[in-house]
Every structure is written in C-alpha cells, then in structure tokens.
Amino acid sequence: MTAGTDVAGTTTSAGDAPAILHAEGVTKRFGGLVAVRNVSFDIPEGSIVSLIGPNGAGKTTFFNVIAGLIDPSEGFISFLGERMVARSVRAWAEPFFWLAPSVVAAVVGIGLGSVGSRVGLDVAVLAAVLLLIVSLLTAIVRPPWYVRLLIRAGVFRSAKPNEVVNRGISRTFQNIRLFQNMTALENVLVGMHSRMRANLIDSAFRLRRHRREETEMREEGRRWLAYVGLEGRDDALARNLPYGDQRRLEIARALASHPRLLLLDEPTAGMNPVETSHMTALFGQIRSELGITILLIEHDMRVVMGVSDRVTVLDHGETIAEGTPEVVRANPLVIEAYLGKGAAS
C-alpha cells in the first residue's frame, strides 16, 4: 500500500480483549545492533502487564519507543486504535511546508518590484515575513488540519513524548529523573502541565482562569502526594527526599497527568523488600481505585508475579514467552534466559 494510506491507516487490536495499546512487529536497530526484534503484543484495558527479561533484553528501548523517545525502525504502536508511534516517513519534507507560503510571497514581491511597484514590494516582503512566522508556529503547534495535510502529502512524524502524554500515557524513569531543585508539589504540578489551560495572558494578568486553576491544581497536587504517601512533604525539595520517596514522587508526578496507561520502568529497583511490597501494593491500588492500566518493566520476576495479569518476557530483543505469570514461570526458555543454559533441566 502507498505511504499515504500506510501512514493514515489505523489498526484494530489483534487481541480478543479490547486492547488499549497495540504493538505490531516493533523493531529497533542501532547501527548493526538490533535492540528490539519484531515485538508484537497487546495491553488489555484495565490490566497490569509486565515486561520482563534479563539485562540487555531491550526492555527499556521498547519502553522508550512507546514513550515516543525513539522512532522504531519497523512496525508501529497504536494507542486506543490510533496509530501513534511508527517510523517517520519523509520527515525531511516537512520544512518545505513551512517555507512554501513565504517563498511564494517573496517571489510575488520580487515580481512586483521588478515591474517597479515599490508598494507591492513592501507589502509582499511584509507578507512573506508574516507568513513564515505563521507557518512556523503552525508547524510547532501542529493543529489537526496541519497533521492531516502532512499525512495526505505522505509525511508522517512519530508522536513526540509530550504528544504521547497528551494521548493519555505517562511514565516514570528507571534512573529517577525528578526536577531535583523543585519542591515535591511543584514536581506534581509540572506533571499536571498538560491538563492546565492557563495561557500567557491569564498568568501575566492573574485572570480568573489562572487563579482558579492554580488553587484547584495545588489542592489536587497535595492529594496526589498524599495518595502515594508523601503528605506534608509539599515544600521539600525533591533532591532532599529519601530514595524511596523520590520513587513515589515520580509516580505521583506521572499520575497527575490523569493517564489511561501508566508506564513504570523498574519502579522497585534498589528498594528493600519492605518498600518493594508497599510499592507493589500501590500498583494494585492504582489499577483498582483509579482504573489505570499499567505496563510494568522489571527484571526481578518475583516482583511482577504478584500483581501482573499478563507477563511478556524479552530476551535479546525478542519475545521468548507470553502469558499468565504461572505459564511464564514454567517456561523453560525463560528459566534458561534467567539462570543460564541447563538450568531448565
């Protein structure tokens, strides 16, 4: 099929349960090295799916593909039935769309100038500048019609991280990436950024929308902090929080954007068993109370077995097993991948 339809085409989930996220043959190469090879799987709505595998299995790479940090080399990921992430097609062509209008104006201007119309020249020059500004802004704000125009022209640009968030996916990081010098509350407020509507004018002149929003959001922010067990730490700088609390704060920050799918990248890494069990409990809570679907990355199998409905095992970038925790645990390939050859027997 042509690039256009390919790009425009959406997909229905392969699975029987309604899939919130569907990955199809996702492959990512770095130079010669293949980090993820032809991974396809579904995340049913309202479930907790775990992606496990030993170090170097390509979990994080796959994760970053979903989060919009990396374009896949092949395959695509669709969210809520809409193609979200895929290899960009003819991305280089996009700048031409910004320049085209102003170039036309400029040419017209030169034409007018050459026939001696000074006023025409001035107007055209002005028009060229304005058009350029407008089209640049359009290219950055990317209104739907602009995207549709691009798709019709066969240009597809994979979603950027912030667009992924706006579609309802938020994440945490394996190595904590809080805003170290902001307070806990400010971190959560940043998490709410995509939901806040106050614009420059509102904030500059403290209009009602700004005031209302600020008070509401600060209130809600405190609730989120309380939800993950950080009540009263609003004004603590993130960098001064203990390790476990930083992990919790990251989750609060992720929840603050009201996601439908939450991506957790080794959320229990470096925690002691007690903290780990609390954390695991929190996942169940989030799913049951907030109805948020969770994709969990772990290489510690014991952590995931408790909470997961489905487990997918990656090794050397390939899916080697998929199914319920019990099935996966029994799978000799998995045991081999974790414990090395011969361990299965």
Binding site: A35, M182, V190, A236
Partner: protein
C-alpha cells in the same frame, strides 16, 4: 537547609504573604527605589561626580539596560537558553518606533501604544529565529543567535531602501503626554520625564515577569532547564515553551528599544552590536541568573560602574598622583592608565570568576544556588544518538 527554611513556619508565612501581595510589594519597592535614587545622587561623594540632572539622565539610560537584563534573564536565567544575539531584538524594537514616528516615513504614531507594538514585533522576530532552531540541541541556539545578532545590523545597514542605510533614521519623535500634568512633548533637556517613564515600564515588566515565573509556564521553563527529557515526558511541549521564553525575552528587549529610540531620537545600525548583547549577558550572570531582583540590581550597578565608576577611578588615580611603580622590566605609570580601556577585560574576568567561584551570581535565586552547586553530573538532555540500547541508564 533550604528545605528547613521552607518548613520554618514564620518564613513560610512571610513567603505566602509576599506571594499573595506580590504585585503590591513590587509596586511599593520599585517606587521607593525610584524615589530614593535621585536623592542619593545629591549626597557626597556622588554629588561630587555631577549634578542631579546628569545622574537622573544616567539612571534613565541604566533603566534601558535593566529592561534588557530582565528580558534576557527569562531566556538565560529561567529557561536556560543561551541567547547571544539579544541586541538584535533591541535594534528591531528601536527601528520599529523609528519607522512609526519619524520624518523618514512621515508617520507619527504616539509613543505609548508603540511600546506594545515594538514589543510585539520583536517577539515575532524572536519566534522567526527561535522556531527553526529551538528544536535543536541547546548549543546550536547560542551560535545561531550570535549569527542572528550579527546579521540584523548588517540588514539594517545594507537594506538602505528600507532603512536609510548607514545614516540611520533621525528626527524620531519623543514621548508625549498631550497636556496631562501640563506636559506635552518630553523634549531633550529634561531627564526626569524619561526617568519616571522607564521606571514605570520596569515596574510593570517586573510585575508581569514575577507572575509568569510562578505560573504553569514558569514551572515549565524551570523544568526544561533542569531536565528537558523528563519535562517532555511530563507533557510539556518543550519547543513551544522555549519559544515562549524566547519571545518574551525578545519582546522585553523590543520594549527597551522603543524607549531607547524615542529618548535618543536617532537610530543607526552600529548602535546594536555584539557589545550590547555581551553587556546584557554579563549583567544577568553577575546579577544572578533566574533572580529578577538580582539581575535588575546587577544591571543597574554594572551600568553605573561603566558610565561613572571607571571615569571617577581615572580622576581619582590621576589626581592622587600615585608614584610610578618599577617592577623589574615593567613600569607602571598610574597617570597613563585609562581604566575605561580595561572595561571589557574586567567584564571577561568577572564572567569567568563568577562562573568559577560564585556561579549563582551576586544575588542568587534559591533554586539556582542549589542547582549550580551540585557536584553530581546532572542528567544531560538526551542526545539523538544517545538513545542507544539502554540509553537513559538502561542496560548496555
């Protein structure tokens, strides 16, 4: 330690009070300063350096640089983008007013609305420059803005059909109050009117910038500065947000440009060289990046040192008739030293020493101090090819 402060109830009280009545407190404090400065100028030793009117005129010019520093602070201090072509927007603002209120075009648009128009036009050009380049790695911005700062004067110089070339535009009209307080045109001889005008502008700018600083947008700026990737993953459109910072910085610069043009009544391309950008940057850095009060004071102090301090130092040294030093081959005859020549040397040294010894500036903002003194490598913004298997600290 800061968290301790933060948790200390009285200080929190004070903070929240200031937050609630921030604008009011800004109005009052700026007003007090504006009232005090001319008085300070009349007491020794300052009174010896010149009469009050001269000082007031100097303060009005210092105000222009305070505005420049305030705007640049949004770009460099809050959003962490290095803009080295800042003077370009200053020039654009100035020429905008020159076009709309001079004999060159025959138009005579009043000064006050043009403040906004100039700011708007400058912002537009900020977007024009920022949009294509802000998508790129931060360092590219530094060099592109530097290039832009070089181009704009070149354009004003060479596009003589539109700009009257190297002679620039003269006979730009002054602000006018149309009889309000019995004042009509500001004229050239009375510095007081300009002084109060520029302080009024500074007052409003400061207020707006403070409000932006602790709004959704301000938080986004800081977030981007701290960890661009994380910010993006929290749903912040880094490009638009950076562009916004860039545009606001530019507009403040344009505002200053309009005032400058109407005070000076003439604009020529060679008034907007790299030296202006560099001076503004020094002011922001020395004042304390990210701290609105800090950069304002920094800008004011540096400007006064430049326009008064060094001259007085010259007079002092030359009247003191210090003995000539003979350090082996080197002979220092104090009378021959013109400290005005050492100005850039001093700026350069100041920048380096500041960064090495006190990166948060003379008047640091709390956050910046925290940030600039951390020794651990902060998570650098993600590089394209950095995203390898297990980038972001993933497995190799």
């Amino acid at each position: 330690m800061t968290s301790m402060l933060a948790s200390n109830p009285t200080i929190r009280e004070a903070r929240s009070f200031l937050r609630r009545h921030q604008s009011l407190s800004i109005l009052i404090s700026v007003g007090i300063i504006a009232a005090l400065l001319p008085i300070v100028a009349t007491v020794p030793p300052f009174s010896g350096f010149g009469n009050q009117r001269d000082f007031v005129g100097g303060f009005a010019d210092a105000g222009v640089f305070v505005l420049l520093a305030l705007g640049l602070n949004v770009v460099v201090g809050l959003a962490g983008l290095l803009d080295l072509g800042y003077a370009a927007f200053f020039a654009i603002g100035a020429y905008t007013f020159a076009y709309s209120a001079s004999g060159y075009t025959g138009l005579d648009v009043p000064f006050w609305p043009m403040l906004l128009v100039g700011a708007f036009v400058a912002a537009m050009f900020g977007i024009l420059l920022g949009a294509p380049t802000l998508r790129l790695r931060g360092d590219y911005l530094a060099i592109v803005t530097l290039g832009f700062g070089e181009i704009v004067p070149v354009v004003f110089l060479n596009a003589s059909a539109f700009t009257n070339g190297t002679n620039g535009i003269t006979g730009i009209s002054q602000p006018n109050l149309y009889g309000l307080f019995g004042i009509h045109g500001f004229g050239f001889t009375n510095p007081w009117l300009y002084y109060f005008t520029v302080f009024g502008i500074i007052m409003l700018t400061t207020m707006i910038l403070y409000r932006l600083q602790d709004s959704r947008i301000g938080r986004a700026w800081v977030a981007i500065r701290e960890d661009e990737l994380a910010a993006a993953s929290m749903g912040i459109n880094t490009v638009t947000t950076k562009l916004l910072a860039f545009a606001i910085g530019a507009s403040t610069s344009g505002l200053a440009g309009v005032f400058y043009a109407s005070k000076l009544a003439t604009v020529t391309p060679d008034q907007f060289g790299f030296t202006v950008s560099f001076t503004a940057l020094s002011m922001v850095v020395l004042g304390g990046m990210g701290n609105i009060w800090g950069v304002s004071v920094g800008a004011f102090v540096i400007y006064e040192i430049q326009s008064q301090g060094l001259k007085q130092l010259n007079n002092l040294v030359q009247t003191a008739r210090l003995p000539t030093l003979h350090l082996g081959p080197v002979t220092i005859d104090w009378a021959t030293i013109n400290f005005l020549n050492y100005q850039y040397l001093l700026y350069g040294l100041a920048l380096v020493l500041m960064m090495l010894l006190r990166p948060e500036g003379l008047f640091p903002s709390r956050r910046r101090r925290e940030e600039l003194h951390e020794v651990d490598i902060e998570p650098s913004e993600i590089e394209p090819s950095e995203i390898g298997p297990g980038a972001l600290g993933g497995e190799p």
